[in-house]
Symmetry: C2
Subunit: 480 residues, 2 copies
């Protein structure tokens, strides 16, 4: 530094750019210096193993290896080409491969009864009573623990389920077909909020509702849908994103659009007028009704990306209240798991964070397909449900551009001047940046039998993505 | 300037702040100077008469006279206390005072047949054929010109009408009751877009639709509404603003919510299933269906503010395709008019600005009540219909804070962190700032018989507001 510069420094004081730890900037600010703080973190948190893994995937030009780039282009182009159509409704036992009377599907990666979270246990107990395999929840718990019941993830059976995500043989499921690729995805019908099976409740109210859903709701919707032909879910989601929905925890617009589409057909359903009215009122009373359609729409869109060699794109994120799991396009049969985190959120009256189960449900398939938390800029009103403010909703969406492969070609956000939602999570970008997907979600009580206690935002554990990256590198090394 | 400063100026060049005419700034920029342009205009455009008028309304402290401040507080508090409820449906002849077989109501301020715009003439001709008073549009035109038909503004009869706004005796009208004050407002049912009476079309298609609306649609809706009790329009509008509507030219969400609310009751209507289906399909095919409910909701909310002495709040803006008119709370029976301006917008295929009639319709009652253009920040997707981009939608709403008395206590905008919409246009602020209300609107063909050609944004003529201010001052002077 020249003498002149040094003199200037004494006269005008230093101007500081601080990288990394914010506490340095705070100290300087306290002593009156002008500080610009840059929220910088070293790539991959500075972890030498992960840095080595990321480097091993780079070509000589510093970009990603050409075969990975090509594979990811293929993956994201399949995802964007998806055309999920709602084509019908039927019994799980008749539609889902491998389904049998003593088989229970659940959300998230595989988990034994012994390790199952409270809400998943509660939903399993309720389902066993509902199926007539047990008379009381206590008997159901004994049966579940006996080894007689087969448990497996919805994701292993072309299905998804919100929260506990329990599907048993005689439950009705939506049939969503991705007509661009011919694959299907299944999901149960949404029961509403509060004391419901998917949040782990299993009381009489829950059982009665489930029975009514099978006897009245499902047949009515099935008839109406048969008359309507099919519903274009991609188009409905695209419209709903222009009407303040984000497709995960705000589905008021899409639910309204489904009512608009089905009401003219429900009139003709072969049921007493009172029962048709009850069907319409049930849907009208539950703005989450569409969640159980947006989820299989996203699942159906992502499944054709499974098995693309060399792709680092995430094809599933899912939680069971015990573990958070991630699957990659190139290794679609492996789960990379870490303990499910707690959700930061808003609680229903009478409940607090002390009541909350860890993160749970397959609904994070919406974020995996570029909506939900990734589309929060489209749904600023959701902050009243999950917390935060409207400008955060915008910044959440923008931040997800750091870890995704594309902007969605159909799902656009008016408030971002019709840019597409960030879509196609790249595990390399997640690990390199340390930015994890933003997920909004419901919160279940940690005990079986209680139900919903709130909703909020959750950060998936980065360990899942780090494991996936490490495994991807090993797999790539071995297949050389 | 010191010698030192002068030397600095030569060394570093000037830094200029330019106020007013942008061309000075452009010239300086061209010669390489750093210029900050400030879009400043002298108050009231520098007009000495208007400046004098504004000064005469100021107290000794420089603020507005206390009696005016109090009157405006009363006006805006009545507006915000409004509770517009949809309570029924009936024939204009039975509901609207002064309605008779040869009486035609139209949008905007009073206008004679001779001065009527093409679309208003077209709608009048269609209405006379619809009423059976003429067999052909040509006969209708002769009858209309004969002096046998009484014409008056909807606004003189507690009614509002979109575009031409024509109401004839046997048309059905919605009944909206402001239950906080007991007053009512009426509006016809929305016909859809394209070739429709309110855009001045009168062909067979238009007549058949109007007849079907009277024979099937109105009775079905009336029965359903009777069964439902009533619909809280304030609540529906508040919800729709959180779902991408602004209540004037984007009503997709509110239309959906009305379908949700009425479908369970429509099922029970005493009509064949096919006709009930046709009713649901008609509403579903027309996202502007709710416009004819948001308009009387706004009219019913504003009318209790009529007759508040000393208030400078605007209680009506309206156009008939010939004149744009404004009414004030303190002089509610007077219209302050200027030629209706042209609309800047987007045109339907096959049409251009050369086809456009000047600004027309009572629908600007929405902006008068703080929604429509004033709530565009809630509806960024509307720019695809009326032009512009999403950030303009935000700035339109923000700009309206300059000319309004309050933020709405019920109509909130998520994207502005749940701030209320700007509401209660103060004619003093409009004249002082030169900022006119932002209005979005449909565009009719200038010839009778054709219909809709586009949609866009329009600037009301400031002359209406200037006249209103001058008249207010004179009135105040006289009543001293």
């Amino acid at each position: 530094m020249s003498a002149q510069k040094t003199l200037e420094l004494f006269a005008t004081g230093p101007k500081v750019i601080n990288l990394g730890l914010p506490s340095f900037a705070d100290d300087l600010r306290r002593s009156g210096a002008e500080v610009l703080h840059v929220d910088w973190r070293p790539p991959a948190g500075g972890d030498p193993h992960l840095l080595h893994a990321l480097e091993s995937l780079q070509g000589s030009d510093g970009g990603v290896l050409p075969e990975i780039a090509t594979a990811n282009e293929e993956a994201v182009s399949r995802l964007l080409a998806a055309k999920p159509m709602l084509v019908g409704l039927g019994k799980a036992s008749e539609l889902i491969e491998g389904m049998h009377a003593k088989h229970i599907l659940h959300a998230g990666p595989p988990v034994s009864w012994q390790r199952m979270s409270g809400p998943t246990r509660g939903a399993v107990m309720g389902a066993l009573v509902f199926e007539g395999l047990a008379e009381t929840p206590e008997q159901a718990a004994t049966l579940a623990a006996s080894g007689e019941i087969e448990f497996s993830p919805c994701h292993h059976h072309q299905a998804v389920g919100p929260m506990a995500g329990v599907i048993s043989a005689s439950m009705s499921v939506w049939i969503v077909e991705n007509t661009a690729f011919g694959n299907r995805a299944y999901c149960t019908l949404n029961e509403g909020l509060g004391k419901v099976l998917r949040y782990g409740a299993f009381g009489d109210e829950v059982m009665q509702r489930l029975r009514w859903m099978e006897c009245v709701l499902a047949p009515a919707l099935s008839q109406a849908l048969t008359r309507a032909g099919s519903l274009d879910l991609r188009s409905l989601i695209a419209q709903a994103l222009q009407m303040g929905d984000e497709g995960h925890n705000r589905n008021r617009a899409a639910t309204s659009l489904v009512i608009r589409a089905l009401a003219p057909h429900l009139i003709h359903v072969d049921l007493p007028k009172e029962e048709i009215e009850a069907v319409l009122r049930f849907i009208d009373s539950n703005d989450h009704f569409f969640l159980n359609l947006s989820m299989p729409a996203c699942k159906a869109a992502l499944d054709p990306c499974r098995g693309i060699k060399d792709s680092t794109m995430v094809v599933a994120m899912a939680r069971n209240g015990t573990d958070f799991g991630v699957q990659l396009a190139s290794m679609p049969d492996r789960w990379f798991t870490a303990p499910a985190p707690l959700v930061e959120g808003l609680y229903l009256p009478g409940f607090s964070a002390a009541d909350a189960a860890p993160d749970i449900g397959d609904s994070v398939i919406t974020e995996t397909a570029g909506i939900g938390g990734f589309a929060m800029a489209a749904a600023p009103a959701i902050v009243q449900f999950v917390g935060g403010n409207a400008s955060q909703a915008l910044s959440f969406t923008r931040k997800m551009l750091d870890i995704t492969l594309a902007e969605h070609s159909t799902y656009k956000i008016p408030a971002l001047d019709f840019h597409g939602t960030p879509v196609g999570i790249d595990v390399m970008r997640v690990v390199e940046s340390g930015v994890v997907p933003v997920v909004n979600t419901g919160i279940a009580h940690h005990e079986p039998g209680i139900g919903m206690v709130g909703a909020g935002l959750v950060k998936p554990p980065i360990a899942c993505f780090e494991q996936a990256l490490t495994a991807f590198c090993e797999h790539k090394e071995q297949s050389r």
